[in-house]
């Protein structure tokens, strides 16, 4: 398939691996955070760590929107779903995320009308097909997903949809990156920037990272050759004493992103004063809410939302995993009390959560490696 096969070419991957091995002779250890959960998943799915020298340490970042939704917002969604005459529509992974009162899947088992959709436009179509019900779309995601919600809000207004709303939980990529960069004792030297978020916001938006924090960024696509090339570009910057934003994903990402998508978001949504991120805490201006001209379709204005803050389970260390402070296997409940079938923390729910990626692709190898030292 075009745009896939050429980025899985083993010969190109081997050449890039050799280049990285040669470069680290000059640079020494380079700790690289891949911000995006899709990258984490791809790294383990394709076994890329095996192609890297020990000097390259990969640290997983906060870029999985399912993983950062706090338990209180799941409870809010359950409260909406349990309102009479309401159908709550959401993406599949969100249905399994545990809140303080269980998951949406469990609410469905108790009788709430919760349905899985692949697009907010599908939720609007559902509202059209079932005019006697109110369909509320539980919107989550970074700037990649916000444009779909924005287009749906525009269409709801064009149609004058009377039985549709959005429970908006869209989050922004810059605030958590700044929070990580301001962590005392930060152990990250360079960043692999998110690919598809960048198709919307553009690669230029990361210039604050080299300029204010002195770390290089390479925006990357998701195939094995893409990621190896991005890592080689970062290590090459270090070897040559450069520190800048580079774009490996030029086939999709432009420096200014997609202006039409940014306009659609700005027209329909605005920044909240603050928003709670699971495991990270409250970050100022880090999420979006529906703008006033679209108030008719804003679930937070239409429903009574509990809005309670729920503490994460004490044993769960998702916050430290999301900010790159520990590896998933260092959490005491990883793979025991917390598994993809029965997740305790959100990083184990989504296939792109760091814990789920480790569990699915890397756990056996990790255990073998650790056995000799008795860890």
């Amino acid at each position: 398939m075009r745009f896939v096969d050429e980025y899985r070419d083993p010969a190109v991957a081997r050449a890039l691996s050799a280049e990285i091995h040669a470069l680290v002779a000059d640079t020494g250890t380079v700790r690289i955070m891949e911000v995006c959960g899709g990258h984490t998943h791809a790294i383990y799915r394709h076994g890329l760590e095996d192609l890297l020298p020990p000097e390259i340490e990969l640290v997983h970042g906060p870029g999985c929107p399912v993983c950062v939704i706090p338990m209180g917002r799941v409870d809010d969604a359950i409260a909406i779903a349990e309102t009479g005459g309401v159908t709550l529509a959401t993406f599949g992974d969100m249905m399994r995320v545990p809140g303080g009162r269980g998951s949406l899947l469990e609410a469905k088992a108790r009788g709430a009308d919760v349905r899985m959709v692949y697009s907010p436009l599908d939720a609007l179509a559902l509202a059209r097909r079932e005019p006697d019900r109110h369909v509320c779309f539980f919107a989550i995601g970074f700037e990649t997903t916000a444009p779909a919600t924005a287009i749906t809000l525009r269409r709801a207004r064009e149609e004058g949809a009377a039985n549709f709303s959005v429970f908006c939980n869209h989050v922004l990529i810059e605030p958590p990156l700044r929070a990580i960069l301001e962590t005392p004792g930060l152990r990250v030297d360079a960043f692999v920037g998110p690919g598809h978020v960048s198709s919307v916001i553009g690669s230029d938006r990361y210039s604050f990272i080299p300029e204010e924090y002195g770390r290089p960024v390479v925006v990357s696509a998701f195939e094995p050759v893409d990621l190896l090339q991005a890592i080689a570009m970062l290590v090459r910057q270090r070897a040559e004493g450069r520190c800048e934003v580079e774009n490996q994903y030029t086939r999709v990402v432009r420096p200014d992103g997609n202006p039409r998508a940014l306009e659609a978001i700005a027209e329909t949504m605005e920044e909240r004063d603050d928003f709670e991120w699971r495991g990270v805490g409250v970050l100022p201006r880090s999420a979006l809410r529906v703008r006033e001209p679209f108030a008719r379709w804003d679930a937070e204005r239409l429903f009574t939302i509990p809005g309670a803050r729920i503490e994460d389970p004490k044993a769960c260390r998702c916050g430290e995993v999301l900010t790159g402070q520990i590896k998933p296997w260092e959490c005491g409940v990883f793979g025991t009390a917390c598994t993809p079938e029965q997740p305790l923390g959100t990083c184990m729910v989504s296939s792109e959560g760091a814990c789920a990626a480790y569990f699915s692709y890397g756990r056996a190898r990790r255990r073998r490696e650790e056995a000799p030292v008795g860890a």
Binding site: F3, H196, A264
Partner: protein
């Protein structure tokens, strides 16, 4: 988008690239792994049959262009 149990539809960083096979009612009909779906092209309004689009959550986000490596 097409359900793939190894992918999280929510994230979009596993968004799919797909070829446009037709335009219909202001949307594009795309083909993904032999299955045809409709996506909104409000954000890529000049999409044409034969183009490859990056699609996520029912909309096209960007056109995929051949890039020099």
């Amino acid at each position: 988008m097409t359900a793939d149990p190894t992918r999280c539809v929510t994230c979009g960083d596993e968004a799919v690239t797909a070829r446009v096979v037709a335009l219909r009612g202001g949307d594009a009909v795309i083909e993904v792994d032999g299955t045809r779906e409709r996506v909104a092209i409000d954000l890529v309004p000049d999409a044409r049959p034969g183009d490859t689009l990056l699609c996520h959550a029912g909309i096209a986000l960007s056109r995929v262009e051949a890039a020099a490596r």
